[in-house]
Structure formats: structure tokens, C-alpha cells
């Protein structure tokens, strides 16, 4: 792996990081995009359709992923971990490690012969563990790059993949490869994670098979999902009654997540509409405290869902248990009627909130904010000291923040902040270049 000298290092290849990289590269700047997973795309590539337009998510994201991979000014570095960052007089020095794929990326054609030959099946995080792939695999059908990666922790070293690979690409001799990047600016785009499904004991503590998280539901609704249709994971039944529990991981002091995660109301409304299309006979109920439709066209979207027959019930869900047939039973206080009732459903989705990407809560050594020396806000996302004057500037000159690395937001706002961070970085680089000329 060669050392690089670039104008901007973007950390994180979700929609925010990809957009920031493309904006800068289109202006002629040299960009390195470092992604820790084997493919770029982030959470957005796992979604089915997007609110408020209901466009196919893959149709929007895949061309962007491809544009990043083919841009002459972008060095795409997947399956890489940022180790440390040091300030130099002229910018930053980043130490990175390329993790071994055990596949020669230059030779691999993405044909998946190795994957079909491999005898070990493992849960696929792309499908939130409900789908499977093999110990060696191309991570998902639209992955960029379309290259296989071998997961040594789940490999029995049988050598079948190496034997089957027509390109001779499987390479057991690969080792972690450290390399360095000199850069003038950094854009942090490390994204978000969902609050854990097992966080609330009252909601089954993650043990109820038919109580799922909303990214699982996105996968059920996607044509490439684990079952190819909407089924409940407990026993493969097509659900006929489905409930959403809003604010199941946000606005909750007991979880330390006191803020509103902003997108949960909208994704629940979106999924309810998509389920109505996929399962026209299904009853869908959304239990909410208040519905927050903050964006352009979002209120109309909510009204459309109501008109389609989605039932919105104001109520606080106190507990969820399971009956003898794996059906989740919800105990809910109907706040407008002042009654507590129990209702049984086939499937329940907890509308979980957003927290910073793992490691970025300042508690671990792999924390991006810690490696970048960036302070966190009270919400544990990267702090923006002057949000009104400089909405993407971190506390350190030359380091900018975009997307859900700075707080919960939707795709529209992730893209807006990406272009804003790119524009701020571009001004900073030009200023720096001027100083260098006159120095």
C-alpha cells in the first residue's frame, strides 16, 4: 500500500462521506475516502425505499457508490482502519491499516465462485443477522468494490475457495498493511448506529423473536432482503397485524438518549405505507407520543399514510410480552382515553433511535472523535461549537463534520451537510494554499 498525499481525508463512506468526497473531487481536489467496512454505502444502501419520495434506495445510492469508485480524484480505501492522527505544520498525518481481505483485490472479478464453494454459513450484518452469507463472500449484491472478503474468524481453512477461484485471487498470505496519508483537511463522516434492540427490558430485552428493529424491517421490504418478502423472523409467518412503537429508543432518560432522533416518525410512516403495498390485507398500527414531520413534504406524506388506512394511536407502550404462539402482546396506555389495554400482533417494530457510530462515544481507543481529538456534545455526537455560523466546523481547525456523525438527521440533511462540509474544506484548502505561496 503506497503512502498518499491528499487535500482531504474523508472518514466514513456512507451517503454523507460519499457526497462530501464527490463534491471536493469534482472541484479538482485530491480526496482519500477511508471506510472500515469492505464496501461503501453505509446504512443508506441497506434501506428499501426512501421518504418522502418512495424512490428505490438502491437506485439512488448505487450510482453514487460507483461514481466514488471511478472518480479519478478519489482514492477509495475500503476495509481500512484509521489508527491515529497527528497535526503537522501544514495539516494532518494519518496512520491507517489496510485489513487483510485474504483476496487480491486487483485479481478478484466478484464472480462469487468462492462464495458458492465455501461450506461455512454465517449471519450477514447487511441483513441484520437475519440473512446469511458464507465465510468468504462479496458482502452484498451492489457492494462497491465488488470484491470478495474472507472472514478468518469463521473460516475452517479448508481451501475450497482457493481451489474454485478462476482468477487465482484468494491469498492466504495477506497481512495487515500499515500506510500513511498526509492531508490538509479531514471530514468526519462516521455516521450512526441504532440504539440497541435489547436496551429496554419492558420491551422484551431483545429476546422476543417477533419484535424487530427498523433496519430489519427495511431489509424485509427490500427485494434483496433475507426472505424476499415480509415474513416474521420467529417462524416465517406472513404477518397480518403489525405495530410500531414510536420513541422506543429516543426521548428516554433511562437510556441516556434524551433527544429526538428525528427520522423515526418518518421511517415508521414510510414503512407502514410500504407494508400496505406489500401486504394489502395487513392491519398496521402506529403507537406514538406525537408525530414529528419536520421536512418539506413530510406532513403530506403522513396524511397520505392515514388516508391509506394506517391506524395512528396516541399512547405510551408500557410493556411487550409474548403469548404461547410467539405473538407479541402490547400493553399500552391510551393517553387520550386514559385507559390501559392489551393488544396482540403478529409482528412489532421498535422505532429505535440514533446514537453515534460505535467507538465514537469517547470511551474506546478506536473512537473516531478520540483519534481526531474532537470534543463531544452532551448527546455524545461530535460537537459543533458554532452551529449557526459554521454548521460543519468541528472544534479543531481543518476538521469538518458531516451527516449523522454530528447528530440525528435524514438523507436530505446528510447530503446538505456533506456539501456544506466540502465547501468549508475547499475554502480552508485554498486559504492554506495561498498562505503557502506567500510564505
Amino acid at each position: 500500500m503506497d503512502n498518499l498525499h491528499v487535500d482531504t481525508l474523508v472518514v466514513g463512506g456512507g451517503i454523507a462521506g460519499m457526497q462530501a468526497a464527490l463534491d471536493l473531487a469534482d472541484q479538482g481536489f485530491q480526496v482519500a475516502l477511508v471506510e472500515r467496512e469492505p464496501s461503501i454505502g453505509g446504512k443508506m444502501i441497506t434501506l428499501s425505499k426512501v421518504f418522502p419520495t418512495l424512490d428505490c434506495c438502491s437506485c439512488i445510492t448505487t450510482p453514487k457508490m460507483s461514481a466514488v469508485a471511478h472518480h479519478p480524484n478519489i482514492h477509495l480505501l475500503t476495509y481500512c482502519e484509521l489508527q491515529s492522527i497527528e497535526e503537522t505544520g501544514s495539516g494532518f498525518h494519518a496512520a491507517i491499516v489496510q485489513k487483510p481481505r485474504y483476496v487480491d483485490a486487483r485479481k478478484c472479478t466478484g464472480c462469487r465462485e468462492c462464495e458458492y464453494a465455501c461450506p461455512v454459513t454465517v449471519p450477514s450484518p447487511f441483513d441484520r443477522g437475519l440473512g446469511a452469507y458464507r465465510a468468504i463472500r462479496v458482502p452484498f449484491s451492489t457492494a462497491v468494490p465488488q470484491k470478495a472478503v474472507l472472514d478468518m474468524e469463521n473460516c475452517i481453512l479448508c481451501g475450497k475457495c482457493e481451489k474454485e477461484c478462476p482468477a487465482g485471487a484468494v491469498d492466504f498470505t495477506q497481512q495487515p498493511e500499515p500506510f500513511e496519508i498526509e492531508t490538509t483537511t479531514i471530514i468526519a463522516a462516521s455516521g450512526f448506529e441504532l440504539t440497541p434492540l435489547n436496551a429496554k427490558k419492558e420491551y422484551g430485552g431483545g429476546k422476543l423473536r417477533n419484535v424487530v428493529d427498523p433496519l430489519m424491517m427495511e431489509r424485509f421490504l427490500a427485494p434483496t432482503g433475507p426472505y424476499g418478502r415480509v415474513l416474521r423472523p420467529g417462524d416465517g409467518k406472513e404477518p397480518t397485524s403489525i405495530a410500531y412503537v414510536q420513541c422506543a429508543g429516543s426521548r428516554d432518560q433511562t437510556l441516556g438518549v434524551e433527544y429526538c432522533s428525528r427520522v423515526c416518525c418518518m421511517y415508521a410512516v414510510k414503512q407502514a405505507m410500504l407494508i400496505s403495498g406489500a401486504l394489502p390485507m395487513a392491519d398496521i398500527t402506529i403507537y406514538y407520543m406525537d408525530i414529528r414531520t419536520f421536512g418539506k413534504g413530510y406532513e403530506q406524506f403522513y396524511q397520505n399514510a392515514k388516508a391509506m388506512g394506517v391506524e395512528f394511536v396516541r399512547g405510551k407502550v408500557a410493556a411487550i410480552r409474548e403469548d404461547g404462539e410467539q405473538n407479541p402482546v402490547i400493553k399500552v396506555e391510551l393517553t387520550e382515553e386514559g385507559r390501559i389495554v392489551e393488544r396482540t400482533f403478529d409482528l412489532v417494530i421498535l422505532s429505535l433511535g440514533m446514537t453515534p457510530a460505535p467507538g465514537s462515544n469517547g470511551t474506546t481507543s478506536t473512537s473516531l472523535s478520540a483519534s481526531l481529538g474532537l470534543p463531544l456534545g452532551t448527546d455524545k455526537f461530535i460537537a459543533i461549537p458554532a452551529p449557526n455560523a459554521n454548521p460543519c466546523a468541528s472544534a479543531r481547525p481543518g476538521i469538518f463534520v458531516t451527516g449523522t456523525a454530528m447528530g440525528p438527521m435524514d438523507i436530505v440533511d446528510s447530503i446538505v451537510t456533506a456539501s456544506s462540509a466540502a465547501s468549508a474544506a475547499s475554502a480552508y484548502i485554498r486559504e492554506h494554499q495561498k498562505e503557502a505561496v506567500y510564505a
Binding site: 440473512g131 492466504f172 423472523p233
Partner: protein, 101 residues
């Protein structure tokens, strides 16, 4: 600076090293792999002739239905099992070879 060049280890040596450094995970995965194979065979055997639902397969082979669904989904992904209609609210699954025959 020393002039001595260290030779890159051969493929055989690297594999030996990998077997040593990953002895624990290889052994754990071998146990898992054997269990997976048994489960896959049991499922495929039962749905060879007649398509079945996940709860029917689970009852026949004595495994939890969520586990059976996970295996059925993975067998379907790799073309070994196909969907073959519905029985009430449950999709039916059959071995691909027999379903296509």
C-alpha cells in the same frame, strides 16, 4: 541500516501460521460447520418430495422455528431451496432440484 533482506514467507508457511494463530476459531467453526451440515441435510431431506412450511419443518426435525427459517433463507439464497406456494399465512419451501423436475 542493515542490508539483510528478509524473504516473504511461502504460502505453505503462511497457512501453517494461520492454522496455529487461528486454532481456536478453526476448531469452533468446525463444530459449527458440522452442526450446520446436519441441519441443512435434515431440512433438505424433509422437503425433497413435498413442499413444507417453516413450522412443519421445525416440528419434524425438532429445532426452533426461527433457526429453521434462518437456514431455509440461506439455502434459498444459494439456490438449494425454492419457494413453492403458500399454505395459509406461511410460504412453502421445497428442494430446488425436485421442484424444477
Amino acid at each position: 541500516m542493515s542490508d539483510i533482506k528478509t524473504e516473504a514467507p511461502s504460502r505453505g508457511e503462511m497457512l501453517k501460521r494461520l492454522r496455529e494463530t487461528h486454532a481456536v476459531s478453526v476448531e469452533r467453526t468446525q463444530v459449527l460447520f458440522r452442526a450446520q451440515k446436519q441441519m441443512q441435510q435434515a431440512i433438505c431431506q424433509f422437503i425433497r418430495e413435498t413442499p413444507k412450511t417453516v413450522p412443519e419443518i421445525a416440528a419434524e426435525i425438532g429445532k426452533p422455528s426461527h433457526e429453521v427459517l434462518w437456514f431455509v433463507a440461506s439455502l434459498k439464497k444459494y439456490g438449494i431451496v425454492v419457494e413453492a406456494g403458500m399454505c395459509g399465512d406461511y410460504p412453502l419451501y421445497q428442494r430446488a432440484k425436485e421442484a424444477q423436475a
